[in-house]
Structures are given as structure tokens and as C-alpha cells.
Amino acid sequence: MNPEERLAEALHAALDAGRPSPDLADRIVERVSASGRRSVRSSTRMLAGIAALVLVVALVPLAISLRSNGGPSIPAPSASAGSMTPTAPTGTLAHFDRDGLAFDYPASWTASVSGFNMHYITILDFLGTGTGLATCTAITPGPAEPSLEGTECGAYLHVGSEQVAVELSLQDGPPRGGPIDPTNPAGLGSGEKYVTVGGLPATFQDDMESGAGATVALNWTLSVPAQLNSTYAIQAEFKGPGAAEMRAQVEALVASIRYDPPVPVLNPADGPRFAASALAWALSTDPAFSCFPTVPGATATATVTQLPAYPALRKPLPVTCTTDIEPSAIGLWRLTLTESWTAASDRSAGSFTTTIWLDSNGAPGATVGGPAPAGIPYSQ
């Protein structure tokens, strides 16, 4: 055995048995969750954290095309662009009908079209009596973060006392985990719950900062029908003694939302064909899909060494595999692939479901799967 082989064997002997703390992955997930995600979007409450960064990087406010609802365009002059001045007394309603959504809002609010595109996120409109701003900031590498460079874009709402601001945006990509699915308990973020807005599946988060005069933030995210990767987001912020009234105004706006464009009607007879083609696609990305029957409603048994999207199991697992497909009310097909296993001396009974969402033409575009790894027997 040459020295390199001896070293390789010694390293394997010393390191292969190395195991991190059992909770390391959970701690990492916790830290990742707490870290948020760069370059997506921010609320005004992130501004304090960003402020220091803004001191050392070039701030590049991009012009926001703003105009009154139905009026001429007004270029945004500065970071205060989008300031909304009440134009009518409260009590009467104005009607909004644009970008696929229609709703009513207090005529005392100003509506400003933004159209600011932040790579997959387009700020559609700001409404209310407060201030809305969409801007991009150039990030340059520094000693602490040599890999950090690019552009950070964000949309911000700012409300003074007795002010309300609403931001309407559209996220239209990249591929994500499918539409909002109220049957998926893992699809909710912290503090979110499933709701229905204008007949569309949606999530809602009610977030209030603590302390007197706190800003209240309400967030809705709505699936866009017939779109695998698109959601509308409605973010509202308000504060002041009149918060209850402003909340009622915002909630009334959301309750009046209707989605205008026609939603494709799916023909159930297409289901088996779409299921077969989607399974073929899935199999091309991961051999772990091989156990599923191509005919919906059929059942197959197999012994697998890997579950979709997971590392190899420590030992083979006998499973029963089923395939089902159904049309959804929002013009998408839902292909449900389930592997289930019985209890044995070294495992509990359980199942693993992967959902593949297909567009109205049967093209697969989003895969959601799994229970937590702890629920999978023989996992590494």
C-alpha cells in the first residue's frame, strides 16, 4: 500500500464515523429561516438594518413611473416618490381594475401605478395615504463579505400616524413549489394561515410590532390561476389611534377582490395522459419515481432504496406506490404520488407523498414532497 492509499484509509477511518450533533441540521434551518432571503423584498421594518449598508454603497433610486389612477405619468423624483395625498373624503369608494384584479378602495386614497420590475417581482401599485417606494441599491464587495455583490432591490412602505399604505405586487417566477395549497400544512410560513381571497387560495399573516403606536402589517399572498409560479402579494401597513378603522378599510378592500381573466376549465379525460407524461418527466429527473404506476388509480409494490429527492436509504424499504391526478379549481392539474410502507420491527408505518403540479396543458412545473426526514425509515 503506497503512502497516498494509507493516508486515504486513515482519513476514512478517522472521519467516516464522524457525526454532527443530532440537532445541527435543525439549527441550520432555524438560522436560515431567521436570515431571510436576499434580493426578494423588504418591508419598512428592514430599513433600519439596511441603513448602515446604505451609508457605504451607492444608492441608485430608479425612476418609478407613477400616475394617479387613470391619469398621466409622473416621474418619481426621489426616494419620497409614491407619497400619497388624500384626494377625496373617506366613505366613498373608488374602483380598481388592472393587472387581473378588481377591487374597491376608499376614494380618499391615492392609487399610484408602479410597474417597477425587480427580477420576477413586479410592484404593480401603491395605494393609500402613506408612502410607497421601490428602489434598487448597488452592493459592492467588502472585506467582510468578499462574495457579496450585485444589486439589492426592495419595495418599502412608510406610514406616519393615521396613515395607511398598501402595496400590490406580482411574483411571476422563477419556478417555485407550486400554487398555494391549503391541504399542505408544510406550506405555511411562521404566523401564516390559509384563507381564500376572491375565490383564490391564499395565505394571510397578521403582524404587529410591539409597543405604543406600533405599525400593523397585514400580508396576503394569492395564487394566480393557471400559473404554476405566480402569486399576487398584498402588503398593507398602518398605524395610529385609527388603526382599527384602517384595518377595516384594508380588509374591505381584500374582501372585494375579484380575479378578472378567465380561468381554464380542465377536462378530466386529459388526466391519465398528463399523468403518464408528467411521470416520465419526473423519472428523467430522479430514478426514485420508478415505482409509481403510470395509470392513475393503479397501485404497484416495489422495494426501494431511495425516495424522491432524498439521499439513498440505509437499507431497502418495501413500499406500495399509488398515482392520482385531479384538476384543481385554479386551472392546474395536481398529480399526487404516494409511497406508503407498513410497520416492521425496525420502523413505523408511514407514507411519503410527492405532489407535482401541471399547467392546464399538462406541462409539469413544480414539485412538492416529503414529510420531515425524521419520518422516513432508514434515512442516512
Partner: protein, 175 residues
């Protein structure tokens, strides 16, 4: 790194936190062992892995091809591990716990020989340990090891040659 399915990386790249969570659970053990080979301290290896995943989550949008995930994440892990070693004092102790793991091993190389090799390996610089671990523990070809370290191929070859030489020197000193 493990064989994480492409669509999981694709979903994580699009901001799907649950997909990234699955990747974290799948990749953590292997990433930990790679980091441990460089930092030689379990606590620092865990810190390095955490840092690597935080960087991955922050920058995964820049990953153009999902097939590049293994190499890309390996590079993040190596870099985080090397960063860990730079944050600590240069003096370190031989990790006795690690040496104790060598008991009860297959007999093709005797335990004393392994202990001697690992003790010598421990005394190398983190950069030397990284190139040796990537080549002889991760079993990477030199171009892939170079990519993981973010250095040119020629530099990787010479660093590997010198690291092996320093390992031999350490072994000589121990005898």
C-alpha cells in the same frame, strides 16, 4: 456532497425554503465530515457547515445550473472551513477524541500507523489538510479539488505535492 435531486435544488433556488430545508438535512452529515477534515474540531466543523448553508441560501439564486450544486456547495463548505481556521489562534491541540475514533478499525493498516498518519495530518496547515482531504478523502480528481478550493489547476498540483511532502516530514519528525 450527496446526490440531492435537481428539482429540489431548482425549488430552493426559486426561494422554496422547505426544499432548502430538505437539502440541509440531506447534506449536513457529508458537509460536516468534509469540514471536519479541514478544521479538525467538531465544534468548528459545525460552525463551518452552518456558515456554508447560510451562504448557500443567500447565494443560491446565482447558481445557474442545478447540476453544479455538489461542486458549488463543496466549495462553500471548504471556504467556510478555511475561514473558521483563520478566525482562531494558530496554535491548536491534537484532537484526542478524533484519535480515539480510530480504535476498532479494519486491520489493513494497523491502528498505530493510522494514529501516526492522522497526528501528522493534524499538524499540517488547514490549506494542506484541505487539498489532501479533497484528493484522498473525498477522492476528487485534482481539477475538481482545485475547483473546490477556488485555485488554478497548476496551483492545486503544486500544493498537493508540497502537502504530501510536509506530511512525510511530519511523519519523520514523529519517529
Amino acid at each position: 456532497m450527496t446526490a440531492v435531486a435537481g428539482h429540489l435544488v431548482l425549488a430552493a433556488r426559486s426561494g422554496d425554503a422547505s426544499a432548502f430545508e430538505m437539502i440541509v438535512h440531506a447534506e449536513t452529515p457529508a458537509a460536516y465530515r468534509l469540514a471536519l477534515s479541514i478544521v479538525r474540531s467538531p465544534a468548528e466543523a459545525e460552525d463551518a457547515v452552518q456558515e456554508a448553508f447560510l451562504r448557500a441560501w443567500r447565494d443560491i439564486g446565482k447558481l445557474r445550473e442545478v447540476e453544479l450544486w455538489p461542486a458549488w456547495f463543496r466549495r462553500l463548505t471548504v471556504r467556510s472551513a478555511l475561514d473558521q481556521t483563520r478566525r482562531r489562534p494558530r496554535v491548536r491541540e491534537v484532537d484526542l477524541e478524533m484519535a480515539l475514533d480510530l480504535s476498532g478499525l479494519e486491520p489493513s493498516v494497523d491502528t498505530a500507523d493510522r494514529l501516526e498518519l492522522i497526528a501528522a495530518f493534524d499538524r499540517l496547515s488547514p490549506e494542506d489538510r484541505a487539498i489532501l482531504a479533497l484528493r484522498f478523502y473525498q477522492d476528487l480528481e485534482i481539477p475538481d479539488a482545485a475547483a473546490a478550493l477556488g485555485i488554478p489547476l497548476g496551483t492545486a498540483k503544486s500544493r498537493l505535492h508540497r502537502a504530501l511532502g510536509r506530511l512525510r516530514d511530519q511523519l519523520e519528525r514523529q519517529r
